[in-house]
């Protein structure tokens, strides 16, 4: 344990010193995270106004300030759970730069995970004033349930780990094709709808909503957001966490299998 703390502390320090080197690029990347949620919010605000103040589906209803709360929290949680390793990993496999990393007695995922955490902590500090300003300007509905708000903390951490491991596993496909862009595209498309980025899942038509709720996309997407807003029916809170854990177990298993097979493949064709 002490070993892992030392390793992650050193890796994080390195990640931060790299962030500082590229602070402007990093900030531009981070600001990109605003675009999606703000567009969704604009669309839904207009829809709400056209529908006389609220959009409903079944027993669920969203007002303009509900949408504001949903997409603002999604913006923050989306930032805290984002992952972009697939691009970098594929590139590393293609040009052989994975080799020096394979020589170390440490799986490269740790260095990348630390860089991911480093990026998020660094940029969150920079973005904090903007997030606060947006809350003041957009006047979102305040959280409805203090306990669910607290539970959103472990949920968002689990979501971040799940998304990270799952995306990294997808990145490992680069061992076989060295072109993972198409698979990534599919992942991002599914993620837009099933994670609740475009619309809250409660507003999706029945069958699509049910599929989305069971999918890993909700577990790493809107579940923590719904918790923070106190919108998860009390009976579904536990099952939401169970789904997160199950998907995490699946993602970890997938990672282990793909990693072992992938490294063997990489080392068979010429590292």
């Amino acid at each position: 344990m002490a070993y892992w703390l030392r390793v992650y502390r050193a890796l994080l320090k390195m990640a931060w010193s790299m962030m500082v080197q590229y602070r402007f690029t990093v900030l531009i990347w981070a600001v990109w995270g605003f675009v999606g949620p703000l567009i969704s919010l604009a669309v839904w605000s207009a829809t709400t106004a056209a529908r006389g103040g609220a959009v409903s589906n079944g027993g669920v209803s969203f007002s303009r300030s509900d949408f504001a709360a949903y997409f603002l929290v999604f913006m923050i949680f989306g930032h805290l759970t984002m992952s972009w390793d697939a691009f970098e990993f594929a590139w590393r496999v293609r040009d052989g730069n994975l080799s020096p990393r394979l020589l170390r007695p440490l799986n490269p995922i740790h260095g990348d995970a630390a860089a991911n955490v480093g990026f998020k902590t660094f940029t969150s500090l920079l973005l904090l004033p903007i997030w606060i300003a947006l809350f003041v300007i957009l006047r979102p509905t305040p959280p409805a349930d203090a306990i669910q708000l607290l539970l959103a903390v472990p949920a968002v951490l689990l979501a971040a780990v799940l998304r990270y491991v799952l995306q990294y596993s997808l990145a490992l496909i680069a061992f076989w094709t060295t072109r993972v862009d198409a698979i990534n595209q599919l992942y991002f498309t599914l993620d837009s709808f099933l994670a609740g980025r475009i619309a809250p899942l409660a507003l999706l038509p029945g069958w699509l909503g049910t599929m989305a709720v069971a999918s890993p996309f909700r577990a790493m997407g809107s579940f923590p957001v719904e918790l923070a807003l106190g919108r998860v029916p009390p009976a579904d809170v536990a099952s939401g966490f169970v789904l997160q854990l199950v998907w995490l177990a699946v993602a970890l298993a997938l990672f282990r299998v793909l990693w072992a097979a992938g490294v063997r493949q990489y080392s068979a064709v010429g590292a």
Binding site: Y3, V7, L103, R104, P105, S267, V269, A271
Partner: protein
């Protein structure tokens, strides 16, 4: 020989590569029917290296040197054969093994490009779990031997190739690996820096008794560091032994240098051997190895010789000779 630290037996690596003609039609065709070609990069290579030995691994481009080193460092799975290093099978990639070795590749870097080397060193300290005192000691020694002090805090991207190589070496040695694989460590660096790196490797080996397996295109690296060389060509071992013995085995001639007390004009030196150089009274002849003593006796009795020396050809020439031959042939045809 003492108990081997590196033991390779019948190591073979065959790559399967796809092949197609240039052009759009061929490209579409390859979608449906892929053609593969087998490349036998390493073929039945066996040798042993004792603890603390520095062995030069020689061969032209594509001979299989790097492939062998990568297999020994755990980056490649062999197609067949076995290898143990420090008692481990390298390609199982156990952490305990990776902690005790290092591979330095002249054309790859492990240092992070955007930050100073010192930051990467600290990460290595954590990853290799090096105790603080040992880390400081080793670092001080490396800084001293490689003159790293001015480089430690500059971002890597601002360093010259030679400076970067020195830092790469330091990063690879911080955990005091017992076995060090060096793949072209002096690639692209200037002569002074090459010499510095050579001295450093020798010094490191002397101080810590590390076993070193080194590949290089520069014969000077090899002659300076390695008593023993393994010559590999077309994936096979051609010679394993003393560097000096390589000339005996591979070069079928000797060079005779003559200093005559008058100009050699008009002298038919071709009678004694092949004339390689002729400059006034100075001659260099190439003489078949078996006839050397008879030839020298004739030269001394028939010519006004002031000075005469018999040498092996320069090792570069010997190696060149070896590498020009096709697989299966010996160098004796030249």
């Amino acid at each position: 020989m003492r108990a081997a630290q590196i033991e390779i037996q019948h190591l073979t690596k065959v790559y399967r590569v796809t092949e197609r003609e240039a052009g759009v039609a061929a490209s579409i065709g390859s979608l449906f029917r892929r053609r593969y070609r087998e490349v036998r990069a390493v073929e039945d290579v066996s040798f042993r290296v004792a603890p603390g030995e520095i062995v030069g691994f020689l061969g032209p481009n594509g001979a299989g040197k790097t492939t062998t080193l990568k297999m020994l460092a755990g980056l490649l799975h062999p197609t067949s054969g076995s290898a143990t290093v420090l008692g481990y099978t390298p390609w199982k990639r156990q952490s305990a093994y990776l902690r005790r070795i290092s591979l330095v590749m002249g054309n790859r870097n492990q240092l992070m490009w955007d930050i100073p080397p010192m930051d990467s060193f600290l990460v290595n300290q954590a990853i290799y779990d090096i105790p603080e005192r040992e880390f400081r000691e080793t670092l001080d020694e490396l800084v001293d031997l490689l003159n790293l002090e001015p480089l430690l805090r500059k971002p890597v991207r601002g360093l010259s190739l030679g400076e970067r190589m020195k830092c790469e070496l330091a990063a690879a040695l911080l955990h005091r690996p017992e076995v060090l694989f060096l793949d072209e460590p002096t690639l692209g660096v200037d002569v002074t820096m090459q010499q510095r790196i050579r001295q450093f490797v020798a010094e490191h080996n002397r101080r810590h008794g590390a076993t070193v397996l080194l590949t290089s295109h520069y014969m000077a690296d090899v002659t300076a560091l390695c008593k023993r060389v393994v010559v590999i060509h077309h994936g096979r071992v051609l010679h394993d032994g003393q560097l000096a013995a390589l000339a005996d085995r591979m070069a079928p001639f000797k060079l005779v240098r003559l200093d005559l007390d008058r100009e050699a004009n008009g002298l038919d030196a071709g009678r004694y051997g092949e004339v390689l150089e002729s400059d006034g009274g100075k001659l260099v002849l190439r003489v078949p190895r078996a006839e050397t003593s008879a030839c020298v006796a004739r030269l001394l009795s028939e010519l006004p010789v002031v000075d005469l020396t018999v040498e092996d050809p320069p090792i570069e020439q010997v190696i060149d000779l070896v590498f020009q031959t096709a697989p299966g042939e010996t160098a004796r045809t030249v």
